[in-house]
Symmetry: C4
């Protein structure tokens, strides 16, 4: 009888695991979708709480809502710990930590009230939304994006190095040209302006006033406008390659050993033999 | 005789349909082009009416022009209802509603004068211009653009999720770093600034004042400058693929009638017969 | 003897034509390069003349320089008229008009002094620089760029239509939301702001102040940030196609009629027969 | 014995060369990585020294640090001169000059104290970081980027010419339209504004105030938003081609030893022999 009980328990554990961690079953999907809605709502609650006018009027309601979300997420966290095979490994994983950080700040605020920093930790629960991408039809897409970005990471590094070097050199130059009286109070400020200009953001909080400064700025802008083509080119080519790799079968013809057949090919397109 | 009358009527209905709904005949094309000019003119009239100086001086003339357009479009709407096979289906379709919204506000303004909201509804008649794309040579192009965007919609969704998550996290961080005294009065404000910066728009209405804030801003800018490569890559690759699909040979196998052979194929890849 | 004279004259005419209109000979190239330097210098002179501080001090010198350039360009223009086969056709062509506009304003300024408009016409002489691209090694490149842009012109038109429609609709919405008190004084102003935001320029001269306005702005920014991918994709694909078209020979194998051989291929890559 | 000494010396020279100039050995890599850290630290020191608040408080410490770096880099420079085969050729090369410029300003500041210009020269030592890219796994990536940029340099030149011409013409137009009272004090200022707008930077320090000016600005923005597609397309296609060149089969013909066959080739395209 005890054995039966254990089996039942293990069966229950398995069911819970299936619902919470997977998205293939009907209830798993419903759980996932509910969770996403709850996460987004809780993040919106944190945001609204930071707006003074709203906090003054609905502060109490938001406090209750925050606790409701915290308790719900705590239950979820405990269930996750319960049903997973190795609880410690889950607790130490990226999502395990994010799950914990989603509930911890509210409890800490009981002991250390008013800590501003807790807000940003609470906001991090937005990262939990990425569980959504477990959903089957997105996995392939994410994998492709990841592969393309991994394949281009070295070229992107080289590119970033070049961009930062330009920003440092031009930022120092503009500091010398414009000087403190035009808002370029130090080299780091100059570099900040360089980056604002090179990336075509252009706040306009600091902008060159002298003719030579504006000439340098114009050259930097055209440079920034042009070199955006480089990361774009890198990523596009890598994405194209990922795509191409997928669209060609790895089969080779038994007769003529020709390769490069499409997935739907039945016969070798070079010698006509059956594949 | 009555029969003849009905036939004549049906024939007339068919002719009207051909002119109003199609663009293959000479008169159909003339009708379309006239309509586009009228739509653009009527939209310009609505725009001008919103400029105070113009409204004060030419308000009356614009009022008459608006009524002229409304009556013209009403007649057109009635003709569309008349000649179409299933009037209710047309009236409920996207363009049917847009056509109705193009005339309704002016009539409503007789009953409820001065409603500002009617302006935006009136402006929606600009959507009618998209009827222009019925014109034959654009259909293929639009189809290709659509296919490319549909094919990339999942990757774009993932991309948007990542961008919004970055905006939320960085927006909360900047709120903590800069605080209310530098214009970052709430997390939503911080997120607004994040998006302004990440998309390289850079109004400069709010901008970081502290050194750490500017460092975070610089990192966000470079990120925004770099990740623009991702949607560009996605769409470019999909567009290239749409193009490639078109470049598949138009030959069909004489044996099995299968299509979609590559240009360099010698044998049918489905049945092995020589092409 | 007279005949000889005519021949000599015709020979001289031919030589002048070769130097002025072509860039294959040594003197033709020297002439072209000198001309480009002169054009750029004369444009810089016009620019400097518009700077008050410089005009006040060096006004007289710039006046003399302007006349020197005008006389030089006049002589060149007369030579072009003289040596070209059909002078009227040249005078009516695009570059013929640009050449005339480069000298006319200075003469007109004798009769109608102080006409501001003459400056912009004078500036148009910058267009003459495009003669530089006659230089052999650029012709192929320009042709490719042109072909790619022509091939994508319809898709770009569709894209511009969509962008303008978004700008009109969002511009009207923001006018309703923000109203005159926040700087959105009319729908055209709202559309101007829309375009400033959608294209990620972001002056910040007008920016939304209300929460709903900022939400709409954020959505518009992300849209603008994303749809830049569309023209990029279009042009990239067309450029890739232009390249590809060039890199494949149009020859077909005499034995197996296979096509798609590279330009340097001597034998058919499918059956091995000599091409 | 003297011979032995010379040999030892030459051997020592070779070892030093291996460590300083190459990155294949363990010590060479350690040296490189240490150097990069030192360079970055020394650049940060120069930056911090330009911040008034920091200079006032830690000025003395930064002065000592600057001398420490200078002495270290001087020793390194001497070692480079010592171990290299042809010291004069190294001293005259790009990196030789950069290495010298990294140490010279500090010595000069002893003779000519307070020269602002020395800062920018000191900052140039950031260029030394590019030695990092000697590291093996980056060489291939840089080569590809370089090849793609070299292949697209002519098209980029044409593109820059077009962009600058648009900037000059629109800059003059806006100067005429807006005039001095709206901040467009001269044509160069107008061109500066054109470039700020066309590259989508959009500082907002100068922005059009009249309706016609804003219309022109809107057109310029859409143009700038659209033509970014051109350099992107150029670079992407060239990058794709560089990639493709790599994907050519590594097989060489057994008969004529020709290389560069496509993956699906059956026969050598040069001599017709079976591959």
């Amino acid at each position: 009888m005890k054995n039966n009980n254990t089996e039942q328990k293990s069966n229950f554990k398995f069911k819970v695991h299936e619902i919470i961690f997977e998205a293939d079953t009907k209830w798993g999907r419903i759980f996932d979708e509910t969770l996403i809605v709850l996460i987004i709502l809780s993040v919106i609650a944190v945001m609204l709480d930071s707006v003074k006018a709203i906090r003054l009027e609905y502060g109490e309601a938001l406090y209750i809502i925050e606790w409701a979300f915290t308790i719900l997420f705590s239950i979820e966290y405990l269930f996750r710990l319960y049903c997973v095979g190795r609880p410690m490994k889950y607790a130490g994983s990226f999502y395990g930590i994010v799950d914990l950080l989603a509930i911890l700040p509210t409890y800490i605020s009981l002991i250390l009230p008013g800590t501003q920093l807790l807000i940003i930790i609470r906001i991090l629960r937005v990262l939990r939304v990425f569980r959504v991408f477990k959903i089957v039809q997105y996995i392939g897409e994410i994998k492709q994006l990841k592969l393309a970005l991994i394949a281009s990471r070295r070229k992107i590094t080289v590119f970033l190095f070049v961009v930062l070097t330009i920003a440092v050199v031009v930022g120092s130059l503009i500091y010398l040209i414009e000087g403190e009286e035009n808002g370029f109070t130090s080299i780091p400020k100059g570099i900040y302006w360089s980056i604002v200009t090179l990336t075509t953001v252009g706040y306009g909080d600091i902008s060159p006033q002298t003719e030579i400064g504006q000439l340098l700025a114009a050259m930097l802008m055209i440079m920034g406008y042009g070199i955006i083509a480089v990361p774009t080119g890198i990523v596009t080519v890598e994405m194209g390659r990922v795509k191409t790799d997928k669209s060609v079968s790895t089969r080779s013809c038994l007769e003529c050993s020709a390769e490069g057949h499409e997935h739907d090919a039945v016969h070798c397109k070079f010698c006509g033999a059956k594949l």
